[in-house]
Protein backbone atom coordinates (compact mmCIF):
# COMPACT_ATOMS: atom_id res chain seq x y z
CA UNK A 1 0.00 0.00 0.00
CA UNK A 2 1.22 3.44 -0.83
CA UNK A 3 1.99 5.55 2.18
CA UNK A 4 -0.24 8.57 2.51
CA UNK A 5 2.03 11.46 3.24
CA UNK A 6 0.68 14.12 5.54
CA UNK A 7 4.06 15.74 5.81
CA UNK A 8 7.64 14.53 5.42
CA UNK A 9 8.21 16.12 8.75
CA UNK A 10 5.83 13.82 10.59
CA UNK A 11 7.42 10.48 9.76
CA UNK A 12 8.61 8.27 12.60
CA UNK A 13 11.39 5.82 11.88
CA UNK A 14 11.17 2.21 13.02
CA UNK A 15 13.56 3.09 15.82
CA UNK A 16 11.17 5.75 17.08
CA UNK A 17 8.36 3.24 17.16
CA UNK A 18 10.48 0.60 18.85
CA UNK A 19 11.73 2.94 21.55
CA UNK A 20 8.29 4.32 22.32
CA UNK A 21 6.74 0.85 22.29
CA UNK A 22 9.26 -0.31 24.84
CA UNK A 23 8.49 2.68 27.01
CA UNK A 24 4.72 2.23 26.70
CA UNK A 25 4.95 -1.43 27.61
CA UNK A 26 6.92 -0.73 30.76
CA UNK A 27 5.10 -0.37 34.03
CA UNK A 28 6.00 1.37 37.26
CA UNK A 29 7.22 -1.91 38.72
CA UNK A 30 10.07 -1.93 36.18
CA UNK A 31 11.54 1.15 37.83
CA UNK A 32 12.98 0.89 41.31
CA UNK A 33 12.99 4.62 41.94
CA UNK A 34 12.21 8.02 40.51
CA UNK A 35 15.85 8.24 39.40
CA UNK A 36 15.34 5.12 37.27
CA UNK A 37 12.42 6.80 35.50
CA UNK A 38 14.51 9.92 34.81
CA UNK A 39 17.32 7.78 33.41
CA UNK A 40 15.11 5.65 31.18
CA UNK A 41 13.37 8.66 29.62
CA UNK A 42 16.52 10.70 29.00
CA UNK A 43 18.24 7.69 27.41
CA UNK A 44 15.26 6.92 25.21
CA UNK A 45 15.12 10.47 23.89
CA UNK A 46 18.88 10.62 23.32
CA UNK A 47 18.80 7.42 21.26
CA UNK A 48 15.59 8.29 19.43
CA UNK A 49 16.67 11.75 18.36
CA UNK A 50 20.39 11.01 18.14
CA UNK A 51 21.32 13.75 20.59
CA UNK A 52 24.52 14.48 22.51
CA UNK A 53 22.83 15.51 25.75
CA UNK A 54 19.43 14.87 27.25
CA UNK A 55 18.74 15.93 30.81
CA UNK A 56 15.93 16.25 33.29
CA UNK A 57 15.77 19.25 35.63
CA UNK A 58 13.61 19.76 38.63
CA UNK A 59 12.19 23.25 38.98
CA UNK A 60 12.38 24.70 42.46
CA UNK A 61 11.14 28.18 43.37
CA UNK A 62 14.39 29.91 42.49
CA UNK A 63 16.45 27.45 40.51
CA UNK A 64 16.70 24.50 38.16
CA UNK A 65 18.39 21.45 39.64
CA UNK A 66 19.69 18.78 37.29
CA UNK A 67 18.39 15.31 38.27
CA UNK A 68 20.23 13.44 35.58
CA UNK A 69 22.14 14.26 32.41
CA UNK A 70 22.59 11.51 29.85
CA UNK A 71 25.81 12.21 27.97
CA UNK A 72 25.54 10.18 24.77
CA UNK A 73 29.21 10.69 23.83
CA UNK A 74 30.22 8.46 26.75
CA UNK A 75 26.80 6.77 27.18
CA UNK A 76 26.75 7.70 30.86
CA UNK A 77 24.49 9.50 33.30
CA UNK A 78 26.01 12.45 35.08
CA UNK A 79 24.72 15.76 36.36
CA UNK A 80 25.10 19.48 35.79
CA UNK A 81 25.30 22.69 37.81
CA UNK A 82 22.14 24.42 39.11
CA UNK A 83 20.72 27.27 37.05
CA UNK A 84 19.27 30.33 38.76
CA UNK A 85 15.73 31.26 37.84
CA UNK A 86 16.37 34.99 38.36
CA UNK A 87 18.82 34.99 35.45
CA UNK A 88 16.38 33.30 33.05
CA UNK A 89 13.00 35.10 33.30
CA UNK A 90 11.97 34.74 29.65
CA UNK A 91 12.95 31.06 29.48
CA UNK A 92 10.98 30.34 32.67
CA UNK A 93 7.87 32.09 31.42
CA UNK A 94 7.99 30.13 28.19
CA UNK A 95 8.20 26.87 30.13
CA UNK A 96 5.23 27.84 32.25
CA UNK A 97 3.00 28.63 29.31
CA UNK A 98 3.97 26.40 26.41
CA UNK A 99 3.94 22.72 25.58
CA UNK A 100 7.55 22.95 24.37
CA UNK A 101 10.33 25.38 23.59
CA UNK A 102 11.53 24.54 20.10
CA UNK A 103 14.78 26.46 19.71
CA UNK A 104 16.56 26.03 16.40
CA UNK A 105 19.83 27.79 17.03
CA UNK A 106 19.28 28.30 20.74
CA UNK A 107 21.80 31.15 21.04
CA UNK A 108 19.57 33.46 19.01
CA UNK A 109 16.16 32.06 19.88
CA UNK A 110 14.18 34.61 21.90
CA UNK A 111 13.26 32.14 24.64
CA UNK A 112 16.67 30.55 25.13
CA UNK A 113 19.19 33.26 24.32
CA UNK A 114 19.45 34.12 28.04
CA UNK A 115 21.25 30.79 28.40
CA UNK A 116 23.93 31.56 25.81
CA UNK A 117 26.83 32.66 28.01
CA UNK A 118 26.06 30.74 31.19
CA UNK A 119 25.08 27.47 29.60
CA UNK A 120 25.03 27.03 25.82
CA UNK A 121 28.53 28.23 24.80
CA UNK A 122 30.44 26.42 27.58
CA UNK A 123 28.73 23.14 26.61
CA UNK A 124 28.85 23.66 22.82
CA UNK A 125 25.04 23.42 22.54
CA UNK A 126 23.53 24.61 19.28
CA UNK A 127 19.83 23.62 19.40
CA UNK A 128 17.45 23.08 22.31
CA UNK A 129 14.13 21.27 22.51
CA UNK A 130 12.75 21.73 26.05
CA UNK A 131 9.60 20.05 27.29
CA UNK A 132 7.92 21.20 30.46
CA UNK A 133 6.91 18.42 32.87
CA UNK A 134 3.80 19.10 34.91
CA UNK A 135 2.21 17.64 37.96
CA UNK A 136 -1.48 18.41 38.41
CA UNK A 137 -1.04 21.19 35.87
CA UNK A 138 1.83 22.79 37.79
CA UNK A 139 5.26 23.08 36.22
CA UNK A 140 7.65 20.84 38.16
CA UNK A 141 10.47 20.08 35.76
CA UNK A 142 11.87 20.29 32.28
CA UNK A 143 13.17 17.63 29.93
CA UNK A 144 16.03 19.22 27.94
CA UNK A 145 17.01 17.77 24.58
CA UNK A 146 20.20 19.35 23.32
CA UNK A 147 22.09 19.09 20.07
CA UNK A 148 25.78 20.00 20.04
CA UNK A 149 27.88 21.13 17.07
CA UNK A 150 26.23 22.03 13.78
CA UNK A 151 22.77 23.53 14.15
CA UNK A 152 19.83 21.67 12.57
CA UNK A 153 16.13 22.32 12.41
CA UNK A 154 13.91 20.32 14.85
CA UNK A 155 11.31 18.40 12.81
CA UNK A 156 7.66 17.85 13.75
CA UNK A 157 8.56 14.20 14.31
CA UNK A 158 11.36 15.17 16.74
CA UNK A 159 8.89 17.23 18.72
CA UNK A 160 6.24 14.50 18.61
CA UNK A 161 8.73 11.86 19.77
CA UNK A 162 10.14 13.97 22.60
CA UNK A 163 6.66 15.00 23.70
CA UNK A 164 5.52 11.37 23.74
CA UNK A 165 8.49 10.40 25.92
CA UNK A 166 7.86 13.38 28.19
CA UNK A 167 4.18 12.42 28.55
CA UNK A 168 5.18 8.89 29.45
CA UNK A 169 7.49 10.35 32.07
CA UNK A 170 4.67 12.42 33.55
CA UNK A 171 2.49 9.33 33.66
CA UNK A 172 5.15 7.24 35.41
CA UNK A 173 5.93 10.00 37.90
CA UNK A 174 2.25 10.38 38.61
CA UNK A 175 1.88 6.65 39.23
CA UNK A 176 4.94 6.76 41.43
CA UNK A 177 3.47 9.55 43.54
CA UNK A 178 0.34 7.50 43.86
CA UNK A 179 2.36 4.47 44.95
CA UNK A 180 4.26 6.53 47.51
CA UNK A 181 1.06 7.99 48.93
CA UNK A 182 -0.31 4.49 49.21
CA UNK A 183 2.79 3.25 50.99
CA UNK A 184 2.74 6.20 53.35
CA UNK A 185 -0.93 5.60 54.08
CA UNK A 186 -0.18 1.96 54.78
CA UNK A 187 2.72 2.89 57.04
CA UNK A 188 0.61 5.35 59.01
CA UNK A 189 -2.22 2.86 59.18
CA UNK A 190 0.09 0.25 60.67
CA UNK A 191 1.49 2.71 63.19
CA UNK A 192 -1.93 3.80 64.34
CA UNK A 193 -3.13 0.21 64.47
CA UNK A 194 -0.20 -0.72 66.68
CA UNK A 195 -0.70 2.31 68.89
CA UNK A 196 -4.37 1.49 69.17
CA UNK A 197 -3.62 -2.04 70.29
CA UNK A 198 -1.09 -0.71 72.78
CA UNK A 199 -3.62 1.77 74.06
CA UNK A 200 -6.24 -0.94 74.39
CA UNK A 201 -3.84 -3.12 76.37
CA UNK A 202 -2.95 -0.15 78.51
CA UNK A 203 -6.58 0.62 79.17
CA UNK A 204 -7.29 -2.94 80.23
CA UNK A 205 -4.29 -2.94 82.52
CA UNK A 206 -5.37 0.33 84.10
CA UNK A 207 -8.89 -0.95 84.45
CA UNK A 208 -7.63 -4.18 86.00
CA UNK A 209 -5.46 -2.42 88.54
CA UNK A 210 -8.05 0.08 89.59
CA UNK A 211 -10.76 -2.58 89.75
CA UNK A 212 -8.67 -4.89 91.90
CA UNK A 213 -8.75 -2.18 94.57
CA UNK A 214 -12.30 -0.96 94.07
CA UNK A 215 -13.69 -4.50 94.06
CA UNK A 216 -11.94 -5.17 97.36
CA UNK A 217 -13.48 -1.97 98.67
CA UNK A 218 -16.94 -2.91 97.53
CA UNK A 219 -16.64 -6.38 99.06
CA UNK A 220 -15.46 -4.86 102.32
CA UNK A 221 -18.41 -2.50 102.36
CA UNK A 222 -20.77 -5.44 101.82
CA UNK A 223 -19.17 -7.13 104.82
CA UNK A 224 -19.56 -3.97 106.91
CA UNK A 225 -23.23 -3.79 105.96
CA UNK A 226 -23.83 -7.44 106.75
CA UNK A 227 -22.57 -7.46 110.31
CA UNK A 228 -23.94 -6.00 113.52
CA UNK A 229 -20.68 -6.57 115.39
CA UNK A 230 -18.86 -3.32 116.06
CA UNK A 231 -15.41 -4.94 116.36
CA UNK A 232 -15.89 -6.74 113.08
CA UNK A 233 -16.91 -3.51 111.37
CA UNK A 234 -13.75 -1.87 112.72
CA UNK A 235 -11.60 -4.65 111.30
CA UNK A 236 -13.16 -4.18 107.86
CA UNK A 237 -12.77 -0.41 108.11
CA UNK A 238 -9.07 -0.82 108.67
CA UNK A 239 -8.82 -2.95 105.54
CA UNK A 240 -10.95 -0.44 103.66
CA UNK A 241 -8.36 2.18 104.52
CA UNK A 242 -5.57 -0.13 103.30
CA UNK A 243 -7.44 -0.64 100.04
CA UNK A 244 -7.95 3.05 99.62
CA UNK A 245 -4.21 3.63 100.14
CA UNK A 246 -3.42 0.95 97.60
CA UNK A 247 -5.74 2.58 95.12
CA UNK A 248 -3.93 5.89 95.54
CA UNK A 249 -0.64 4.08 95.06
CA UNK A 250 -1.91 2.40 91.90
CA UNK A 251 -2.98 5.74 90.49
CA UNK A 252 0.37 7.25 91.42
CA UNK A 253 2.18 4.53 89.44
CA UNK A 254 -0.17 5.04 86.53
CA UNK A 255 0.74 8.72 86.44
CA UNK A 256 4.38 7.76 86.26
CA UNK A 257 3.85 5.47 83.29
CA UNK A 258 1.76 8.08 81.50
CA UNK A 259 4.41 10.74 81.98
CA UNK A 260 7.08 8.65 80.24
CA UNK A 261 4.78 7.97 77.31
CA UNK A 262 4.15 11.66 76.77
CA UNK A 263 7.34 13.24 77.93
CA UNK A 264 9.81 12.35 75.18
CA UNK A 265 10.44 15.94 74.09
CA UNK A 266 13.46 16.31 76.36
CA UNK A 267 16.74 17.31 74.73
CA UNK A 268 19.44 14.81 73.86
CA UNK A 269 22.96 15.66 74.95
CA UNK A 270 26.33 13.98 74.65
CA UNK A 271 27.34 12.27 77.88
CA UNK A 272 30.54 10.70 79.00
CA UNK A 273 29.34 7.14 79.55
CA UNK A 274 31.60 6.28 82.44
CA UNK A 275 30.82 9.38 84.48
CA UNK A 276 27.10 9.03 83.72
CA UNK A 277 27.22 5.47 85.10
CA UNK A 278 29.13 6.60 88.16
CA UNK A 279 26.52 9.27 88.77
CA UNK A 280 23.76 6.63 88.64
CA UNK A 281 25.72 4.50 91.11
CA UNK A 282 25.62 7.35 93.63
CA UNK A 283 21.83 7.07 93.58
CA UNK A 284 21.91 3.40 94.56
CA UNK A 285 24.75 3.73 97.06
CA UNK A 286 22.44 2.97 99.96
CA UNK A 287 21.37 -0.48 98.80
CA UNK A 288 24.84 -1.29 97.44
CA UNK A 289 26.19 -0.84 100.98
CA UNK A 290 23.26 -2.58 102.65
CA UNK A 291 23.44 -5.64 100.42
CA UNK A 292 27.27 -5.67 100.25
CA UNK A 293 27.13 -5.49 96.46
CA UNK A 294 30.21 -5.14 94.28
CA UNK A 295 29.87 -3.18 91.09
CA UNK A 296 32.56 -3.16 88.38
CA UNK A 297 32.39 -0.63 85.58
CA UNK A 298 34.66 -1.52 82.68
CA UNK A 299 33.92 1.27 80.24
CA UNK A 300 36.62 3.16 78.30
CA UNK A 301 36.98 6.59 79.97
CA UNK A 302 36.66 8.45 76.65
CA UNK A 303 33.47 6.72 75.47
CA UNK A 304 30.51 9.07 74.93
CA UNK A 305 26.83 8.57 74.25
CA UNK A 306 24.19 10.89 72.78
CA UNK A 307 21.07 10.45 74.85
CA UNK A 308 18.42 11.99 77.08
CA UNK A 309 20.17 12.01 80.49
CA UNK A 310 17.09 11.41 82.67
CA UNK A 311 16.01 8.42 80.54
CA UNK A 312 19.49 6.95 80.52
CA UNK A 313 19.80 7.30 84.28
CA UNK A 314 16.38 5.81 84.83
CA UNK A 315 17.20 2.76 82.64
CA UNK A 316 20.49 2.13 84.44
CA UNK A 317 18.95 2.82 87.85
CA UNK A 318 16.25 0.22 87.21
CA UNK A 319 18.66 -2.42 85.94
CA UNK A 320 20.99 -1.88 88.89
CA UNK A 321 18.31 -1.91 91.56
CA UNK A 322 16.75 -5.02 89.99
CA UNK A 323 20.14 -6.74 89.95
CA UNK A 324 20.48 -6.11 93.67
CA UNK A 325 16.82 -6.58 94.66
CA UNK A 326 16.67 -10.02 93.01
CA UNK A 327 19.98 -11.13 94.42
CA UNK A 328 20.76 -14.73 95.12
CA UNK A 329 20.40 -15.65 98.79
CA UNK A 330 23.62 -17.68 98.49
CA UNK A 331 26.12 -15.00 97.46
CA UNK A 332 26.83 -11.30 97.63
CA UNK A 333 25.56 -9.42 94.57
CA UNK A 334 28.18 -8.74 91.93
CA UNK A 335 27.33 -6.60 88.93
CA UNK A 336 29.55 -6.05 85.91
CA UNK A 337 28.82 -3.15 83.62
CA UNK A 338 30.65 -3.01 80.32
CA UNK A 339 30.19 -1.11 77.07
CA UNK A 340 31.43 -1.14 73.52
CA UNK A 341 30.69 0.66 70.26
CA UNK A 342 29.21 -1.44 67.49
CA UNK A 343 28.39 0.14 64.10
CA UNK A 344 28.04 3.59 65.65
CA UNK A 345 25.76 2.32 68.41
CA UNK A 346 26.60 1.87 72.06
CA UNK A 347 26.06 -1.56 73.53
CA UNK A 348 25.90 -1.65 77.32
CA UNK A 349 25.88 -4.95 79.20
CA UNK A 350 24.67 -5.20 82.79
CA UNK A 351 25.49 -8.64 84.14
CA UNK A 352 24.53 -9.86 87.60
CA UNK A 353 24.87 -13.07 89.63
CA UNK A 354 21.35 -12.93 91.07
CA UNK A 355 18.31 -15.19 91.05
CA UNK A 356 17.90 -15.19 87.28
CA UNK A 357 14.64 -15.31 85.38
CA UNK A 358 13.02 -18.39 83.83
CA UNK A 359 13.30 -17.34 80.18
CA UNK A 360 11.33 -20.27 78.81
CA UNK A 361 8.27 -19.22 80.78
CA UNK A 362 8.69 -15.49 80.81
CA UNK A 363 10.30 -14.47 77.51
CA UNK A 364 7.12 -12.77 76.34
CA UNK A 365 6.18 -10.97 79.49
CA UNK A 366 9.51 -9.80 80.76
CA UNK A 367 8.99 -6.15 79.73
CA UNK A 368 5.23 -6.26 80.27
CA UNK A 369 3.32 -3.91 82.52
CA UNK A 370 2.71 -5.20 86.05
CA UNK A 371 4.55 -8.44 85.38
CA UNK A 372 6.61 -9.82 88.22
CA UNK A 373 8.75 -12.92 88.26
CA UNK A 374 9.70 -13.50 91.85
CA UNK A 375 7.68 -13.64 95.01
CA UNK A 376 9.28 -10.43 96.25
CA UNK A 377 7.06 -8.26 98.44
CA UNK A 378 8.23 -4.98 96.86
CA UNK A 379 7.82 -6.09 93.26
CA UNK A 380 5.36 -3.87 91.40
CA UNK A 381 6.07 -4.97 87.84
CA UNK A 382 6.79 -1.54 86.43
CA UNK A 383 10.62 -1.28 86.43
CA UNK A 384 11.40 -3.20 83.26
CA UNK A 385 8.21 -1.96 81.62
CA UNK A 386 9.38 1.62 82.17
CA UNK A 387 12.94 0.79 81.11
CA UNK A 388 11.65 -0.67 77.87
CA UNK A 389 9.56 2.44 77.26
CA UNK A 390 12.57 4.66 77.89
CA UNK A 391 14.76 2.60 75.57
CA UNK A 392 12.03 2.72 72.89
CA UNK A 393 11.75 6.47 73.27
CA UNK A 394 15.52 6.71 72.68
CA UNK A 395 15.20 4.58 69.55
CA UNK A 396 17.23 1.76 71.08
CA UNK A 397 16.69 -1.85 72.02
CA UNK A 398 16.89 -3.91 75.19
CA UNK A 399 17.37 -7.66 75.43
CA UNK A 400 17.75 -10.08 78.27
CA UNK A 401 19.45 -13.38 78.76
CA UNK A 402 19.19 -15.26 82.00
CA UNK A 403 19.79 -18.58 83.68
CA UNK A 404 17.78 -19.27 86.83
CA UNK A 405 20.11 -19.59 89.79
CA UNK A 406 23.09 -18.15 87.89
CA UNK A 407 22.22 -14.59 86.99
CA UNK A 408 20.88 -12.23 84.38
CA UNK A 409 22.47 -10.12 81.65
CA UNK A 410 20.69 -7.15 80.15
CA UNK A 411 21.94 -5.76 76.84
CA UNK A 412 20.95 -2.20 76.07
CA UNK A 413 21.78 -0.83 72.62
CA UNK A 414 21.46 2.94 72.22
Amino acid sequence: MKKSKISDDLLFTQRHFDLLARLYKSSLDDYGSVADIHKAITETVAFGLDLARVSYWKILSNKLVCQTLFDASVAKHTTDKDLLASELPVYFNALKEGIAIVANDARTNEFTKELTDVYLIPRGISDMLDLPIREDGQLVGVLCCERCGVSQRWSEADLAFARAAADMMMLLLEQNRHRETQRETERLYNISKRLNEKLLDYTYIISHNIRSNTSNMSMLMDLIDDTEQYDEKLEYLKLLRDSSNKLSETIHYLNETISIQLDSKERTVRLNLKSALEKTLLGVNGIIKKEHATINISVPPEMTLKTIPSYFESIMFNLLTNAIKYRSPDRAPQIDISAKKIKGKTEILVKDNGLGIDMVRNRNKIFGMYKTFHAHPDAVGLGLFMSKNHVDALGGSIEVDSTPGKGTTFKVVL
Binding site: Y204, S207, H208, S215, S218, M219, L220, L223, L239, T372
Partner: protein
Protein backbone atom coordinates in the same frame (compact mmCIF):
# COMPACT_ATOMS: atom_id res chain seq x y z
CA UNK B 1 -27.16 -26.95 99.80
CA UNK B 2 -24.12 -28.66 98.38
CA UNK B 3 -21.00 -28.32 100.51
CA UNK B 4 -17.39 -28.11 99.46
CA UNK B 5 -14.71 -29.75 101.57
CA UNK B 6 -11.49 -28.35 100.20
CA UNK B 7 -10.98 -25.13 98.24
CA UNK B 8 -7.71 -23.76 96.83
CA UNK B 9 -7.77 -19.98 96.70
CA UNK B 10 -4.88 -19.01 94.40
CA UNK B 11 -4.39 -15.26 94.68
CA UNK B 12 -1.61 -12.94 95.84
CA UNK B 13 -3.83 -10.05 96.90
CA UNK B 14 -3.91 -10.27 100.70
CA UNK B 15 -6.96 -8.09 101.17
CA UNK B 16 -8.96 -10.05 98.62
CA UNK B 17 -7.89 -13.33 100.20
CA UNK B 18 -9.00 -12.10 103.62
CA UNK B 19 -12.35 -10.91 102.32
CA UNK B 20 -12.96 -14.13 100.38
CA UNK B 21 -12.19 -16.23 103.41
CA UNK B 22 -14.66 -14.16 105.44
CA UNK B 23 -17.37 -14.48 102.81
CA UNK B 24 -16.82 -18.22 102.43
CA UNK B 25 -17.00 -18.60 106.17
CA UNK B 26 -20.26 -16.64 106.25
CA UNK B 27 -21.70 -18.72 103.45
CA UNK B 28 -21.07 -21.86 105.48
CA UNK B 29 -20.70 -24.07 102.40
CA UNK B 30 -16.93 -24.13 102.34
CA UNK B 31 -15.01 -26.19 104.86
CA UNK B 32 -11.28 -25.90 104.37
CA UNK B 33 -9.85 -22.99 102.36
CA UNK B 34 -6.18 -23.09 101.43
CA UNK B 35 -4.64 -19.88 100.16
CA UNK B 36 -1.70 -20.15 97.75
CA UNK B 37 -0.03 -16.95 96.57
CA UNK B 38 1.22 -17.89 93.12
CA UNK B 39 0.74 -20.38 90.31
CA UNK B 40 3.95 -22.29 90.80
CA UNK B 41 3.30 -22.98 94.49
CA UNK B 42 -0.25 -23.98 93.56
CA UNK B 43 0.98 -26.61 91.08
CA UNK B 44 3.38 -27.92 93.70
CA UNK B 45 0.64 -28.17 96.34
CA UNK B 46 -1.79 -29.80 93.89
CA UNK B 47 0.67 -32.46 92.80
CA UNK B 48 2.08 -33.00 96.29
CA UNK B 49 -1.25 -33.46 98.07
CA UNK B 50 -2.59 -35.63 95.30
CA UNK B 51 0.41 -37.95 95.35
CA UNK B 52 0.62 -38.13 99.14
CA UNK B 53 -3.02 -38.28 100.17
CA UNK B 54 -4.85 -38.64 96.88
CA UNK B 55 -6.69 -35.44 97.77
CA UNK B 56 -7.87 -32.92 95.23
CA UNK B 57 -9.72 -29.66 95.91
CA UNK B 58 -13.45 -29.53 95.15
CA UNK B 59 -12.99 -26.04 93.83
CA UNK B 60 -10.12 -23.83 92.67
CA UNK B 61 -10.52 -20.07 92.68
CA UNK B 62 -7.77 -18.73 90.43
CA UNK B 63 -6.49 -15.18 90.02
CA UNK B 64 -4.75 -14.28 86.74
CA UNK B 65 -2.19 -11.63 87.53
CA UNK B 66 0.33 -13.20 89.91
CA UNK B 67 4.10 -13.37 90.20
CA UNK B 68 6.28 -16.36 89.29
CA UNK B 69 3.58 -18.33 87.43
CA UNK B 70 0.53 -16.29 86.53
CA UNK B 71 -2.96 -17.76 86.20
CA UNK B 72 -2.57 -18.62 82.51
CA UNK B 73 0.73 -20.35 83.08
CA UNK B 74 -0.89 -22.27 85.94
CA UNK B 75 -3.66 -23.41 83.58
CA UNK B 76 -1.07 -24.51 81.02
CA UNK B 77 0.69 -26.57 83.66
CA UNK B 78 -2.62 -28.07 84.76
CA UNK B 79 -3.17 -29.33 81.19
CA UNK B 80 -0.30 -31.74 81.75
CA UNK B 81 -1.68 -33.23 84.96
CA UNK B 82 -3.28 -36.69 84.64
CA UNK B 83 -6.11 -35.70 86.99
CA UNK B 84 -6.90 -32.39 85.28
CA UNK B 85 -10.43 -33.48 84.32
CA UNK B 86 -11.33 -33.80 87.98
CA UNK B 87 -10.54 -30.12 88.66
CA UNK B 88 -13.18 -27.39 88.73
CA UNK B 89 -11.52 -24.04 88.26
CA UNK B 90 -13.18 -20.64 88.55
CA UNK B 91 -11.07 -17.76 87.29
CA UNK B 92 -11.69 -14.84 89.62
CA UNK B 93 -10.03 -11.75 88.23
CA UNK B 94 -10.28 -7.96 88.18
CA UNK B 95 -10.03 -8.15 84.42
CA UNK B 96 -12.99 -7.28 82.22
CA UNK B 97 -10.96 -7.85 79.05
CA UNK B 98 -13.11 -9.73 76.53
CA UNK B 99 -9.97 -11.29 75.03
CA UNK B 100 -9.14 -12.88 78.38
CA UNK B 101 -12.68 -14.11 78.82
CA UNK B 102 -12.51 -15.73 75.39
CA UNK B 103 -9.14 -17.26 76.19
CA UNK B 104 -10.55 -18.78 79.37
CA UNK B 105 -13.09 -20.72 77.27
CA UNK B 106 -10.23 -22.57 75.60
CA UNK B 107 -9.46 -24.41 78.82
CA UNK B 108 -11.75 -27.34 79.56
CA UNK B 109 -10.72 -27.12 83.23
CA UNK B 110 -12.16 -23.61 83.59
CA UNK B 111 -15.80 -23.67 84.66
CA UNK B 112 -16.34 -19.94 84.55
CA UNK B 113 -14.65 -16.58 84.32
CA UNK B 114 -15.83 -14.37 87.17
CA UNK B 115 -15.01 -10.67 87.38
CA UNK B 116 -14.35 -9.30 90.85
CA UNK B 117 -16.01 -8.23 93.11
CA UNK B 118 -17.41 -11.52 94.38
CA UNK B 119 -20.63 -11.45 96.41
CA UNK B 120 -21.91 -13.70 99.15
CA UNK B 121 -24.91 -14.30 96.94
CA UNK B 122 -22.71 -15.76 94.18
CA UNK B 123 -20.88 -17.97 96.66
CA UNK B 124 -24.23 -19.29 97.89
CA UNK B 125 -25.32 -20.18 94.38
CA UNK B 126 -22.18 -21.85 93.13
CA UNK B 127 -22.65 -25.54 92.25
Amino acid sequence: MKRFKLIYLIDDDEIFVFVMQKLMQKSGRFEQVLNIANGLDAIDVLVDRYSREGSLPDLIFLDLNMPVLDGWQFLDEVERLPFKDRLRIYIISSSIDAREMAKAKEYSTVKRFVSKPVTLDWLNKID
